[in-house]
Symmetry: C2
Subunit: 168 residues, 2 copies
DNA sequence: ACTTGTGCCTATGAATTTCATAGCAACATG
DNA sequence: CATGTTGCTATGAAATTCATAGGCACAAGT
């Protein structure tokens, strides 16, 4: 696997180019989305991203090597690992949030409802799509907001989980 | 060119997945970076992203089809086009900004200096890396901040432009 | 008129990556 | 001791990417 562009030529001063050598990939971003949504096991991530096991395994390995993800054994005998965000991985949250806001605003889904709504824990009201809370104006961070999936989106995810189990 | 995943299966409710069908690609993001930096001509974009002409041509075509970019003739006879961001493309700016902040903070370049610094036009002071101005706390947007490239970064870009001219 | 240069790509073939499908190792559970 | 679960790895075929070359339409110089 020689896919990463992390060679010397990527010692560019541009932070966007540097970031893209790590996260400039659809699968990688979808994996991060799942980790932020609280999925931690390989097959959960695979089921929701709909990637092949190699795609997921390779990306998780890259993410671990790049320091965004850490593996932790949640069971020995049988030895099983779960995937968790490191501090560096958690710090990626604003990008996911910005991507979400853009997607919700500019790439309409056929059905209407917003997939996930956040409540701002400090003011207790809806946080909206921006970087600051639309209700109280204060800056949002991962720790001061709580997510709620729309019923439709929850059903979509459940359907994927079941479809995955069905053909294995 | 059958690369886009914009088939029916992407009618997911997840805005991140929908966004990634358009921008989930290293070259695409680098092209958007260049457009935000004020580059508009094909060869400028090619030189700074260091992509092959097909990569750039294909991505620009996708971006145009997705409505983020519009082509405008800046000369007829000979007919020449420049590439400009649409409103939908401009709206992607927060993602670029978040990516930049993460890259500057978490993927250190060998040399120290920050590539680009922004000044907040409203308070006249440095805007910092966050979504709100680090000096005055107000939310930042593309229209209320002005960029200044560091000397080193400017030199890096000039060197790329020259290297590109040299071997053509 | 004719050579050289510019801007924006397209063509070609080899190298690499991705996808679909299958399967395996290490257990747990009945 | 057969079947299920979890987390992957193996194998080729299909698609994409890369490096390299070139082409087309015109402008400018000589």
């Amino acid at each position: 696997m020689k896919m990463m562009k992390d060679n010397l030529s990527d010692q560019t001063l541009c932070p966007i180019a540097r970031a893209e050598t790590v996260v400039g990939d659809r699968w990688t971003v979808l994996i991060l989305r799942e980790l932020f949504m609280g999925m931690h096991r390989f097959e959960e991530i695979q089921a929701q991203t709909e990637g092949t096991p190699q795609m997921i395994a390779a990306r998780l390995k890259n993410l671990e090597a790049a320091g965004l993800v850490k593996r932790r054994a949640y069971s020995k005998r049988p030895l099983r690992y779960q995937y968790l965000l490191t501090e560096k991985g958690e710090a990626f949250h604003p990008v996911i949030l910005a991507l979400r806001a853009w997607g919700e605003t500019w790439i309409k889904s056929p059905r209407e409802a917003r997939a996930v709504n956040y409540t701002h824990l400090i003011c207790g009201k809806p946080a909206g799509l921006g970087p600051t809370c639309e209700s109280c104006g204060r800056p949002l961070s991962r720790t001061n907001m709580v997510a709620e999936q729309s019923p439709k989106y929850r059903r979509e995810r459940e359907a994927r989980a079941e479809a995955f189990k069905a053909n294995r």
